[in-house]
């Protein structure tokens, strides 16, 4: 790709073109989301109601928490395929922990196990320089295997005791009409945005994703940063699992299959480039919302079965990715 400076007049037009391209790439998901919400609201009476949107938001909150960690990993140029399995494993551990040790156990046990899995990923990717794809694929298999093992091949279900009201409230309660998981998502995304935009750690993530070699030469702690980012991703997946256990009241063994793909899709739709070095948490949140609004609109239309949702989501992903690729090319010219 050439980056030779052009003459003055075209350069001006060029810059404006670049700004537009950047704008679309940054906020494309948000624009489409607004359009879809408007269309859905006009077409279906039951769509833009507080009840429906509130429910959608709670359903989407688990993926949102996971996708936040995925965004950070992808910004560094890596990928974390294990999040769906870690999420399911955490849900089971949270239910078990709640049964044995109450609220503290419901948090401590799954978070400790998730952090350990994330640490293993981080060390293998960051220190041993193994491919993130394969490492976290191993993590996916391992966490799913451990989950099956703990639940006697999926035959045993751990229930959260009904006496653990504080814990159950976390998944089922509402404050000011907003589900508590939704509030947690908002807080986490605010924190995530601050970390990425305002801290040294966040800058390092972008630097490593932009050029790992250059980052090393500049003396940035590349390996350590990578270890941290995989731990963060696993812990967030664990937290999502805890929230799901609080909402469902039990550790469900069959959830989370393919969830890593949803998370990656949300991140990509939100404008984070898979090559690393660019991305935003706001975009990811819009991407998550978009995935769920698409599903809901298809449900509202009716007459389609759930498999049509997959077709539309997949087609949508293709369109978004093609547009993004073309836009980022336009930006480079």
């Amino acid at each position: 790709m050439t980056t030779a400076p052009a003459t003055a007049a075209p350069a001006e037009a060029n810059r404006r073109g670049q700004q537009v391209a950047q704008l679309v790439q940054r906020h494309g998901a948000l624009i489409v989301l607004a359009v879809l919400l408007a269309v859905g609201g006009l077409a279906f009476d039951t769509f833009l109601t507080a009840y429906n949107l509130g429910n959608l938001a709670v359903q989407a909150s688990f993926l949102a928490v996971i996708a936040l960690g995925m965004t950070m990993v992808i910004i560094t140029g890596g990928i974390d395929l294990s999040v769906g399995s870690v999420y399911a494993l955490s849900g089971v551990l949270a239910a078990y922990g709640a049964r044995e040790w109450g609220l503290l156990g419901a948090f401590a046990l799954p978070l400790a196990v998730s952090a350990a899995i994330g640490l293993a990923h981080g060390l293998l990717v960051g220190k041993a320089k193994m491919a993130a794809f394969i490492v976290t694929l191993g993590g996916l298999l391992f966490a799913r295997g451990l989950l099956q093992f703990l639940t006697a091949e999926g035959s045993q279900t751990y229930l959260v005791p009904q006496t653990e009201t504080a814990f159950l409230e976390l998944g089922q309660g509402r404050i000011l009409g907003l589900g508590i998981p939704v509030l947690i998502v908002l807080v986490l995304y605010l924190l995530g945005g601050l970390v990425l935009q305002r801290t040294r750690f966040g800058m390092r993530l972008f630097a490593i994703g932009g050029s790992e070699d250059a980052s090393s030469l500049m003396g940035l702690p590349v390996a350590r940063t990578k270890v941290s980012v995989y731990v963060i991703s696993a812990v967030l997946a664990g937290l999502a699992g805890i929230l799901s256990a609080a909402q469902l009241g039990s550790g469900v063994t069959v959830i989370g299959v393919g969830l890593e793909l949803d998370a990656i899709a949300a991140v990509v739709i939100g404008g984070t480039l898979l090559v690393g070095g660019a991305g935003s948490v706001g975009g990811t949140l819009a991407g998550v919302a978009l995935l769920f609004v698409i599903r809901d609109v298809i449900n509202q239309v009716g007459g389609f079965d759930s498999s049509m949702q997959l077709v539309v989501s997949g087609g949508f992903l293709v369109v978004v990715v093609v547009l993004q690729t073309l836009l980022s090319r336009a930006k480079r010219r």
């Binding site: 293998l124 990717v125 193994m130 491919a131 391992f142 498999s307 997959l310 989501s313 992903l317 990715v321």
Partner: protein, 319 residues
């Protein structure tokens, strides 16, 4: 410059382990089984093991080519599901035509991902992810959400018959492995593929048809996935688009990587891929036959993958 059939680049111990570790592990596991597992070396057991690994092996062959170009094809499981849904639809016109339709569908799927990767410049993981998500849905839409029995006698024979004690499906897989192996080692296309994976820019400067090569490997991968889908559906004698091929992309990638093909491209080892698929099959079978639960088997598999790749140490490939 490595060629596909080059001797080990480094003759250090690590290099040797990397290049021949999979065969060593396979041999070791074989010996362990001879001692531990009852009825291991019976024709029946070996046949069962071979039949079980057929779909993964066929898909791994295509995956090896794709990974050789620095890509990855996550859509193979969904392509299997699509072919499984299509297969019963045209059986009225005979088995030949149904299978033809399925192979065309696989080629079409490969064309879509290949076009996105080669001509639009989308990353392989994203392009094929979209097809993974959409393809499974498409398969369910085609099938109308129901299982269909396959009653066609020819397909049933293909799926469960054998010649001289060797199942047809195993024969087909072996034949495909030989063909793909020759393609990599003995043809211009094979050399171009390795060059494109090793250094796309240099390959383009050297005047190689980079885009065409990329497009072709995804089409080959799609067709192979379709063949795997046809064989698996025939063996089940039922079309099962909702479950068929789930997670098979991961199993195939594992077989390829364990067999010594690095994810960073520029090297393809087909014999290693076959050994990798056999190793994975044998690990699972060994653990399950010796009353280790499936979940522990899965955890062991994860650790073995990590160990295999740790030995290979693929530099800085972070995808």
């Amino acid at each position: 410059m490595t060629t596909a059939t080059a001797a080990p680049a480094r003759s250090s111990t690590i290099g040797l382990v990397r290049d021949y570790g999979v065969y060593f592990a396979l041999g070791l596991l074989f010996l362990v089984n001879l001692v531990l597992t009852d009825n291991f070396l019976t024709a029946d057991n070996l046949r069962t093991q071979a039949v079980q690994m057929v779909p993964t092996l066929i898909i791994a062959l295509g995956m090896a080519l794709v990974i050789g170009t620095k890509g990855v094809d996550l859509s193979v499981g969904s392509v299997m599901a699509i072919t499984s849904a299509l297969l019963p639809l045209y059986l009225g016109y005979g088995a030949g035509l149904s299978v033809g339709v399925c192979l065309l569908a696989g080629a079409a799927a490969g064309l879509v991902s290949g076009y996105l990767v080669a001509f639009v410049g989308v990353q392989p993981i994203v392009a094929t992810l979209a097809l993974l998500v959409g393809g499974r849905g498409l398969a369910l839409v085609i099938a109308g959400g129901q299982l269909k029995d396959i009653r066609n006698p020819e397909l049933r024979e293909l799926g469960s018959g054998s010649v001289l004690g060797v199942p047809y499906t195993v024969l087909i897989a072996a034949l495909l492995a030989v063909l793909v192996g020759l393609l990599v080692a003995r043809t211009t296309f094979g050399r171009q593929l390795v060059a494109v994976g090793g250094n796309p820019k240099a390959a383009a400067f050297a005047g190689l048809p980079v885009k065409r090569v990329l497009l072709t490997v995804y089409v080959i991968s799609g067709v192979l996935a379709a063949i795997a889908g046809v064989l698996a559906t025939s063996r089940l004698a039922a079309s099962d688009p909702s479950r068929l091929g789930e997670l098979i992309e991961l199993a195939a990638i594992t077989a390829v990587v364990v067999g010594g093909t690095p994810l960073t491209g520029g090297r393809v080892r087909i014999l290693g891929t076959v050994a990798g698929a056999a190793l994975m099959q044998l690990i699972t079978a060994t653990l399950i036959k010796n009353d280790v639960s499936a979940s522990l088997a899965q955890m062991a598999q994860a650790l073995i993958i990590a160990a295999a790749v740790l030995v290979q140490r693929e530099g800085n490939g972070s995808r």
